[in-house]
Assembly symmetry: C5
Homo-oligomer: 321 residues x 5
Amino acid sequence: MLINCAVYQDGKKLADIRKEEIHDYLSRPGCFVWVALKDATPDELAEMQREFGLHELAVEDARHGHERPKLEEYGDSLFAVVHTVEAAGEELKVGEVNIFVGPNYVLSVRNRTEQGFTNVRQRTEREPHLLRHGAGFVLYALIDTVVDRYFPVLEAFEDELERLEERIFASTPARENIEALYGLKQKLMTLRHASGPLQETAGKLYGGRVPELCAGSQEYFRDVYDHLVRINQSIDSLREMLTTAISVNLSLITVQENETVKRLAAYAALVAVPTMVAGVYGMNFNYMPELHWKWGYPFALGLMVGIDTYLFFRFRRAKWL
Amino acid sequence: MLINCAVYQDGKKLADIRKEEIHDYLSRPGCFVWVALKDATPDELAEMQREFGLHELAVEDARHGHERPKLEEYGDSLFAVVHTVEAAGEELKVGEVNIFVGPNYVLSVRNRTEQGFTNVRQRTEREPHLLRHGAGFVLYALIDTVVDRYFPVLEAFEDELERLEERIFASTPARENIEALYGLKQKLMTLRHASGPLQETAGKLYGGRVPELCAGSQEYFRDVYDHLVRINQSIDSLREMLTTAISVNLSLITVQENETVKRLAAYAALVAVPTMVAGVYGMNFNYMPELHWKWGYPFALGLMVGIDTYLFFRFRRAKWL
Amino acid sequence: MLINCAVYQDGKKLADIRKEEIHDYLSRPGCFVWVALKDATPDELAEMQREFGLHELAVEDARHGHERPKLEEYGDSLFAVVHTVEAAGEELKVGEVNIFVGPNYVLSVRNRTEQGFTNVRQRTEREPHLLRHGAGFVLYALIDTVVDRYFPVLEAFEDELERLEERIFASTPARENIEALYGLKQKLMTLRHASGPLQETAGKLYGGRVPELCAGSQEYFRDVYDHLVRINQSIDSLREMLTTAISVNLSLITVQENETVKRLAAYAALVAVPTMVAGVYGMNFNYMPELHWKWGYPFALGLMVGIDTYLFFRFRRAKWL
Amino acid sequence: MLINCAVYQDGKKLADIRKEEIHDYLSRPGCFVWVALKDATPDELAEMQREFGLHELAVEDARHGHERPKLEEYGDSLFAVVHTVEAAGEELKVGEVNIFVGPNYVLSVRNRTEQGFTNVRQRTEREPHLLRHGAGFVLYALIDTVVDRYFPVLEAFEDELERLEERIFASTPARENIEALYGLKQKLMTLRHASGPLQETAGKLYGGRVPELCAGSQEYFRDVYDHLVRINQSIDSLREMLTTAISVNLSLITVQENETVKRLAAYAALVAVPTMVAGVYGMNFNYMPELHWKWGYPFALGLMVGIDTYLFFRFRRAKWL
Amino acid sequence: MLINCAVYQDGKKLADIRKEEIHDYLSRPGCFVWVALKDATPDELAEMQREFGLHELAVEDARHGHERPKLEEYGDSLFAVVHTVEAAGEELKVGEVNIFVGPNYVLSVRNRTEQGFTNVRQRTEREPHLLRHGAGFVLYALIDTVVDRYFPVLEAFEDELERLEERIFASTPARENIEALYGLKQKLMTLRHASGPLQETAGKLYGGRVPELCAGSQEYFRDVYDHLVRINQSIDSLREMLTTAISVNLSLITVQENETVKRLAAYAALVAVPTMVAGVYGMNFNYMPELHWKWGYPFALGLMVGIDTYLFFRFRRAKWL
């Protein structure tokens, strides 16, 4: 579905145009066309391929989707794949944005994403001195927006880990904690699948040999790169802390088991000892003086209660109960 | 066994030929011969070695089999070993394809594989503009096909892990889960043995210094490389998740042990307390008023049942039962 | 908030100046202005941006804060972000220092830090032969001070690990140990987040291609780099020892569980055996000679005590009690 | 001890010679002398040092032994240390081969090895067209033979792991499994100590800057390198699988513990319940109607047996027994 | 404290000199002065700094101590820090040697070490043809000696691990084993702190760009480097084996727990069953024929003993006892 199609010159928007007019503007010097598609059909892709002369392999990747984040050069044009990651309740929703950039065009195709990029267009149109850098700057603005949206996701993970840490040490049901830790790990891996390869990609766009198209926006791409480094280092820290949390959790479960066993044993003792005493006075010897005492029975009961009271406080003191 | 033997010129098939004719066509400029063998005997290999002038070491590798995936240059010809991985029920079946490529010939020898490469031949013949790139493009088409067949295997692993995750948290018998996790790990390592070294190999075929033969198909080899990067990153994620799953599983087993102990202890209490009460009324004191009450016995039984009922609901509430 | 603003020439302080005078001195050759801000407001930053002609992206980073430690070149000026780490009781407090350096100015902005950098200013003013290197040397002095403050933090960690190790092996409550080990790990990761990226940064300031500004202070930056290498290696060692400590702790908990079970079993035996004996003499057979013995009852009690005494010493010897 | 001493020219053996004659042949152009020593004494080494002009440090390494596998260039001559690994029953026997190679000589000294290298000599003599490459080819042949002998050792490890995996899941005594897994790990590390550094070494002998001596045999050294890569990757896989196997084994032990506890609890219940019933009918109430029934006693016994039978089948169904 | 001060020329010792004479000899061409200090005071260091013109930063490092092993170039002079590791009973003692080397001097300052370097001086004086290489060779000799002293420490670790392995599998008290494994790990990390960075350092002294001073002794530094590689690989192997040993130990403790539980359960059964039988014959039914048998009591006792004997042998056979 076509979302937007406009022509820009000298950092300013000339006009919204129809698909059919693209061709006319492509040949005008100093102009570039910016087309945004959403969940494009194969037909739409084929049309754009003809319009902009896109490379067969790039279009095929966009058609099939499920590519890893990457950046490829085809002559003087670029093809970038980036993944969007959005929180959808407890789940993560991974979308894909395919960006084709040439000297005089930008074509972005987003699939399976909730949030669009209208704010990117607005932001770039508000800064004509930057947009003047051309199509390369639009590429930056798109990637930057995707990366910026990773931060809240990552922060939600950090919050969740913090919450889980508290729960682990607060002896909530262990089973749920484990499940939650594992679920967090899964989501973390999903985010990493998006942000890890993108770091490599961004690294190719500043310093060293940079594609012609992005040469003017290098400092901006370095900024994106820095953000991705920060994200990926935070992910790695989170992974390490998660692994530690899982093994610490196992230790705590074992400690708890130990405590359970002690508690049970204490209670068992409180029952076993009176049973033994009762057993003794249940013996059938002819000569058992206590049996004939008037206060024998209360004495026996008292003995039982007395021993149990003593044991109870000893166990208490030893923190078994 | 000879599967196929044909001559191509200018991206089009000239003719199927007999082995004996190979020699004639090798000297014709702009032509290349494409021979496919299956489970070749040493004699067949020797014949091909004479025909195409293959390097001794390459032929020896093909004869012995069980080489790791690799790519070797011998002068202006290439020798590639790739592994096929096919799911055969619960097991994985690893085959081997040896590919000899020269300016005017392609010889592929596949061993221990179920699926053949006839579809590769058909596909390449349908795209004469690509086949025009010559023998290097055939090498690409063969490797690409092998790599594409890794994907369903990998997806089957991902599905299996997902199924196992559900089973782990759904308290199915732990022993089976462990065995299944271990089995999945083994299969994962098998796939990695095939795909890991192949990534290195593919990396040598685009960018930087590329063998003459593949120079025209670089963008295609980059595509294969990207696929392998994706596969290997997925394998690494799977490995990490498997390791986590194994340790999470251990935690769950320990939790379950804890629960078992509690449950058992609760039942033990339900038996031990009446036993104690019975012991008390089994004592032989002369003066035990309860013994002489008319309702002493029902009272004692009632006491037992009462205490047990109380305990039962307490244990229930504490989720021990 | 403006903390300090002074002009230096030839390694000596010329004068403390007002913000408004900065402009006058910037154009004087051989001079540089050193301004220190604390928790700067956006307005103050904007003012400085105008004054020194700072790059938009750098100022934006300083405004938002929460950047990772890094060093960026903008033309002939540098922008550095370093993190301060201070112990605040049991917690770590992470602050941020943004340093803008140009040929004729140094601007440091510190956020969320307790300790200031007045001692840096004093130290550098005491060594005019070094300060003569110019703004680059001030950059060194600031980073060096931040790094030097990591050492006591790290040493506190090492002491804490040592204390924890003693506690682990001295069977203090396991739960607290685990929590303390986990907490130490968290703090370690926090320090690493500050010191890890800073090592990379410092590495760019000596040897190889060095920004013009720091060329004269290379040997000093190598010194900082060496300190950071030492810190990061110590952190890695600590991490490894912590991981080992956690798993060793789990082993010890399991050992303790084993000992608890044995001890409980020993006590259970001391109760169960007399109960059995009492059970035997509680049987109602007509012909049980012991029952009619005069010393039957004491004999039975003696038997119980005797067996228990024997068991007690056997358990003792086997270290079960 | 001198094993062999022969002169080669143009790929063919000229003659077996005496030690004393070495000197004469060294000066003949196009000739090289191949000497094989076994467990050489310091005197023999000193003699060879004089004869061939070996470097002091190399000879010292050979004298002391216990060097790690390595390759060193001394001017136009090479000194290689490779380790042989042989299975000696359950143990591994690690030997050492020191190889000195110059333009006109090869001196191999093997220590603590069972198998010799006579087959290497025979093999190379059968292939004069290869031996014509000179001393470098002999170096290849020796290293290749050592590496080829790693394969059966490695395969024995793989078989042993497979056997252990079966045993782990077949609930043989856990203690033995653990000991066997640990032993396998130890042997694996021993092999790795031999093969790991040798890979680096072999990597220096093909591609890039190659010592003059080995320039003609590059393709052969690449072959050795490939074998070592394969070996080391298999070792790494084995290590990973071993680590997994150890942790899986721990899980299985815990599962088994769980099962043991359940089984024991079931048996305990089968004893405790009749004891409780007996306790009830052992109470001394005056009015207990059952006691006076004619069939009271069989009824009580029947009750016990009945409850136990019921419990037994319930436990069976729940797989506790 | 000054240990030694001598002048060397042409590989031979000219004379022992007084500190005051150093200056005279420094200007004599072809000479170099070798000074050895021990636990130098700041004053002594300051004196040497003046004498040899040492760099401020290097001297400061020597004064403070606790630097990590490193090598720094200051113009044409070198500053090296190496750590000595000596076994002091169960503990490790880490000392530090600071070596300043210039074209015409060597100054070594050792702190907190037991063993001195007199044997280095003797050894080098015995080999004038090597000492002729100048101050660089003395640097080699000092580092080589320090490294050689790591070997016995490392071997002691390997022996200790072997001893611990035996103890682990020989069921000595688990707690001690764990403590010993942890202690070994700590010592290993200490050694690694010394040997790890030194490897990097040594690597800078041969091949590639080598400081002028060491150019003549490259082959010797390569030898040191090889030793350090060997040491560090052994340390890594030991670490890996230690980690494995710790986890294997945990498995064994769990196995032992399992065995303990079984043994206890068996003993419990031996007590519980007679208690049940006694309970049955302690019931008060009017009609219990056994009670009136003459041999009822022996029969009951026999029953108890019989069942216990049967159980005992069954448990024995099942290896529970």
